[in-house]
Symmetry: C2
């Protein structure tokens, strides 16, 4: 009898929706999801970087009000993925790069302006959480998510929880010290993984080749509209996929460094899966083959690591689904 | 009233003790501890390697019976640290190196022979657990323990739990891929951390110097009784502590590689503390100074990692105290 009345009570509760927000340097997305994490609708647009924080907050408020008006169900909570450093304990953005965001208490702003509870995390942790709950990580004990785009970020989810670490810097894969020398990283050090394997590093490597000898990379230059200085990781990947030898070599080298970085992750936390997300992960096989080569070369009977390396199931939406998970946790 | 009677009931329960065992390649220890983890007594001896499993089991049984007879309280459980690979889920030793131990269900043997429940783990995880519960890790959210001896092992404890990973290989710091080339490791790969920074690697490096030019390392040779081929990490550390230039350089290089490995741990899991245990950790400052140099050289305002690097508080007894923790969990 008790169980039955509990069931009835639950069934009589009104359904509700949540809002998920993914704030990135180039794109931002706002989505309405139901309590099962099912997408009701999503809007997406380019980020107006010069508009800074005021512009972004105005967009969020407008989208939120629109969804509120359109949603058949009350909106119960909000989750936000932010493309930059976040103080999770303090629920504030700590980015010193994005104009106006430094130490901004975004969750409090949502609560005050929009009237719902909110949880905020950085995009790498959100991506990890999104894939763990709604993507390729479903049913895993632990996954390590790698956000491969302009830079490299990462997030580690173990038994449903994001491991943040003492300085909330766990998962900072971009600054793995791969070598004592090597290319200089934005952080000031030399030989960080980001300086070998990020989208920026791949583009830079190609442009450096091109400055010396444009003749050996006609296809990359053609794909970028005829200008060596406009070659990015995208053109390198496209030319490599067509078999261009220089592009293939640049991409392969970057992927091999990444492979060594991922083996490091396997040695330290041995997750069920390593999930590659972010724009560069769309290169798929171009990235996975050299990574598997490195793992094969170093494999040993005494260390039978069976961690799978996979591409993110939710594609560009890993972090947005992470924001859904944050919203569901914020209720 | 309820609380008071519960207190009385507890106070009337008989006190009890646990047995902790640390099985290492060179030493083995058996200890009697009370339920608060306080040492009642500990026996220690050299491991008879050629005696293999039968010899070790006989020692364990004998020590157990002696403690049982001497203990004023009933012995409620046993915990074991084993110096080699362990299948924690299956509670068996999986070592393929130690004679007779492969796939031996040690916990079941204890239960059947000695009549108490038992939990078994490898020495690196046990060391981590020992320091977390009874050593320098008390009050931390997470610690990463590094066992620096002949080889290099590691264990990661987060919120009281050992993170084991998919293949129970989490914490395998010895096989961090530090370089694509470099010295060959016992696992078959090249450039593993163990091949740069373990006790074996330090001794080997010194002997290789000595084979070429004994004249530049008289002190190390003297400390080893006049024979270059008997120089080990111990003589290198002793000579380095006296300021011997070659010994200092060998030790410093090994410690710098270790520093880069530890920075990798900080980037991936950002623990409260990294705890250095095992025989090589007794070099203390000789090891810590070059590690801190590497961390300082690579530090960045954007990555304010505050993880402390410390020497194990329990010294040679980290793993034995881990066995106490295992025994307390086995009750």
């Amino acid at each position: 009898m008790a169980a039955l009345s509990a069931f009835r009570k639950e069934a009589q509760e009104p359904l509700s929706n949540v809002i998920a927000v993914d704030i990135g340097g180039t794109r931002f997305r706002v989505g309405l999801f139901d309590e099962g994490g099912k997408r009701v609708r999503v809007s997406e647009d380019a980020t107006n970087r010069s508009g800074g924080r005021p512009w972004m907050l105005a967009q969020m408020e407008r989208e939120f009000r629109t969804f509120q008006a359109e949603s058949g169900e009350p909106i119960r909570a909000c989750g936000i993925s932010f493309g930059g450093p976040v103080d999770f304990a303090g629920q504030q953005v700590t980015s010193i790069v994005a104009p106006g965001w430094e130490n901004f208490p975004l969750s409090s702003w949502v609560k005050e302006t929009l009237g719902v509870p909110c949880l905020l995390d950085n995009d790498a942790n959100a991506g990890a959480l999104g894939e763990y709950r709604f993507g390729t990580g479903r049913g895993c004990e632990s996954i390590f998510y790698v956000a491969l785009s302009t830079g490299i970020g990462g997030g580690f989810v173990c038994e449903g929880k994001v491991i943040r670490g003492k300085d909330t810097l766990a998962g900072e894969l971009g600054h793995l010290p791969m070598a004592d020398s090597g290319p200089r990283c934005d952080c000031g050090a030399r030989g960080c993984l980001e300086a070998f394997s990020s989208g920026s590093a791949i583009g830079k490597m190609a442009r450096e080749w091109g400055e010396r000898r444009t003749d050996v990379m006609p296809r990359m230059v053609e794909l970028s509209g005829g200008a060596v200085e406009r070659v990015t990781a995208r053109e390198v990947a496209l030319a490599a996929a067509e078999g261009d030898p220089i592009a293939s070599r640049i991409f392969r080298d970057a992927a091999r460094w990444l492979g060594r970085g991922l083996l490091t992750v396997i040695r330290i936390v041995n997750p069920d899966k390593i999930v590659l997300g972010g724009g560069v992960s769309q290169a798929g096989k171009l990235l996975l083959d050299p990574i598997h080569d490195v793992l094969d070369e170093r494999k040993s009977a005494a260390l039978p690591a069976t961690t799978e390396i996979v591409i993110a199931e939710l594609g560009n939406y890993s972090a947005l689904y992470g924001a859904v998970a944050l919203a569901l946790d914020a209720r």
